[in-house]
């Protein structure tokens, strides 16, 4: 185990994590519609809609022609009039004729915007047409379906995908997700060390197995606590903290299974402290550790994919890679994963050195 005494590889973590933490916050979110008002309208007059967006560039010289449509199912409708009021806000007038009010089912309209710089972005079911019981034939304006023409659907910006509900929390991909990668890597290291211990009987392999589990639990705890915060403001806005924890454990199998997996590793440490004889402790805990790793993989990677879970990539949900069309997330995600993993091994190496020192002193 010479690697614990060398320094160069620790710099990988320093460089990569500094890059991720410092630079990822300078990358803005992509353009998105935050608010359309009013939310509903009637087929009785022309309505003026105020559309607020974030991170759009309507007044930029590269934006070119800004266009807007109201979309119902697969049909696009042009507004009666449309104007850009600021770099991020637009105003559109739209009306649906009384005679055509029953053509829209469901009667929700998406608002779709496009310009050359921001590409196409939309708010799903932004406005709702409330049909009246009787047809008012005095109101003659009609919404016409058109074929939209755009230069490009894709934006020309360096940005993270704008997702409703997630918004800026998409940045947690670089912090919450790698925690579990580190835990998995360290659990795997521990698993290998336990197998090697059983094969060779070298006490340093036992030491490696034990200390890996301690660091794995540290990163597991980080992953769990960060996950709690992220989950509360994504899935349970307005739900009290005690309800969030109860609901998550019941409703999201991955949360419950990860907790079980962490308890299995905590039990490994308790098992170790319960046996006094050194050889016996090492052998029994090595066998236990091999089973604990299998259970960990089952709990975190297999079980959530079999049943329903709210986590992306589980229970039939799309993973984040589906949203990341231009791979800006990947630019930070892969360095973050490597950086955090190296940091995990760094902490592990310090722990092992302390243990080796204390053994040396005892003998």
């Amino acid at each position: 185990m010479k690697w614990i005494y060398s320094t160069w590889w620790k710099w990988i973590s320093v460089v990569l994590l500094t890059y991720v933490v410092a630079c990822s916050f300078f990358v803005p979110l992509g353009p998105g519609i935050t608010k359309v008002s009013p939310l509903g309208f009637y087929p009785d007059s022309v309505y003026t809609f105020q559309i607020n967006t974030s991170h759009a560039h309507f007044l930029s010289p590269q934006a070119g022609k800004v266009q807007l449509w109201f979309k119902n199912q697969n049909n696009y409708f042009a507004p009666i009039s449309f104007k850009v009021t600021s770099n991020t806000t637009v105003e559109a007038q739209f009306a649906v004729g009384s005679v055509q009010q029953n053509n829209f089912k469901p009667s929700n309209f998406d608002v779709v915007l496009n310009d050359d710089l921001d590409g196409t972005f939309a708010l799903r079911d932004a406005v709702t047409l409330v049909a009246s019981a009787t047809v008012d034939s005095s109101f003659k304006a009609l919404a016409f379906s058109i074929e939209p023409e755009v230069k490009s659907n894709h934006h020309k910006l360096i940005c993270f995908p704008y997702r409703e509900i997630l918004y800026e929390t998409i940045r947690n991909t670089f912090f919450h997700v790698p925690m579990w990668f580190v835990m998995t890597m360290l659990a795997f290291t521990s698993f290998l060390a336990s197998i090697r211990y059983l094969a060779s009987g070298k006490p340093e392999q036992d030491l490696l197995a034990e200390q890996s589990v301690i660091v794995a639990l540290l990163f597991g705890t980080c992953g769990y606590l960060t996950g709690l915060l992220w989950a509360k403001y994504t899935w349970y806005i307005g739900v009290s903290w005690s309800d969030v924890i109860r609901k998550l454990l019941l409703e999201d199998i991955k949360m419950a299974a990860a907790l079980v997996a962490m308890f299995f590793y905590a039990a490994y440490l308790i098992l170790r402290s319960a046996i006094d004889d050194e050889n016996k402790r090492a052998r029994i805990s090595a066998v236990y550790n091999i089973f604990a790793f299998v259970i960990f993989i089952m709990c975190v990677f297999v079980l959530p994919r079999l049943t329903d879970s709210m986590h992306p990539g589980n229970g039939g949900n799309p993973a984040f890679s589906k949203y990341d069309l231009d791979s800006t997330l990947r630019l930070f995600f892969y360095p973050a994963v490597i950086g955090w993993i190296v940091l995990g091994y760094w902490i592990l190496s310090v722990l092992i050195r302390i243990q080796l020192l204390s053994k040396k002193q005892k003998s």
Partner: protein
């Protein structure tokens, strides 16, 4: 390790203190497109690492004291 697990459990319990008075979407963390959630996440990770570092240091101190 005992100290760390106790701290973790106590932190989890402390969340119960916030059970009251959560005003839904007008919340601090939900404001500004939820930018404070990643900030909170980073803070949690840093705090966990700091608690752990203090624990390591304590063990090291014991070794140093034994040496003298």
């Amino acid at each position: 390790m005992k100290r760390i697990s106790t701290t973790t459990i106590l932190i989890l319990f402390s969340t119960m203190l916030f059970a009251q008075g959560d005003s839904g979407t007008n919340n601090f963390f939900a404001s500004n497109l939820k930018i404070f959630v990643p900030v909170g996440v980073l803070t949690i990770i840093l705090l966990c690492l700091f608690v752990f570092l203090f624990d390591i240091e304590k063990r090291l101190k014991k070794l140093e004291d034994a040496k003298n």
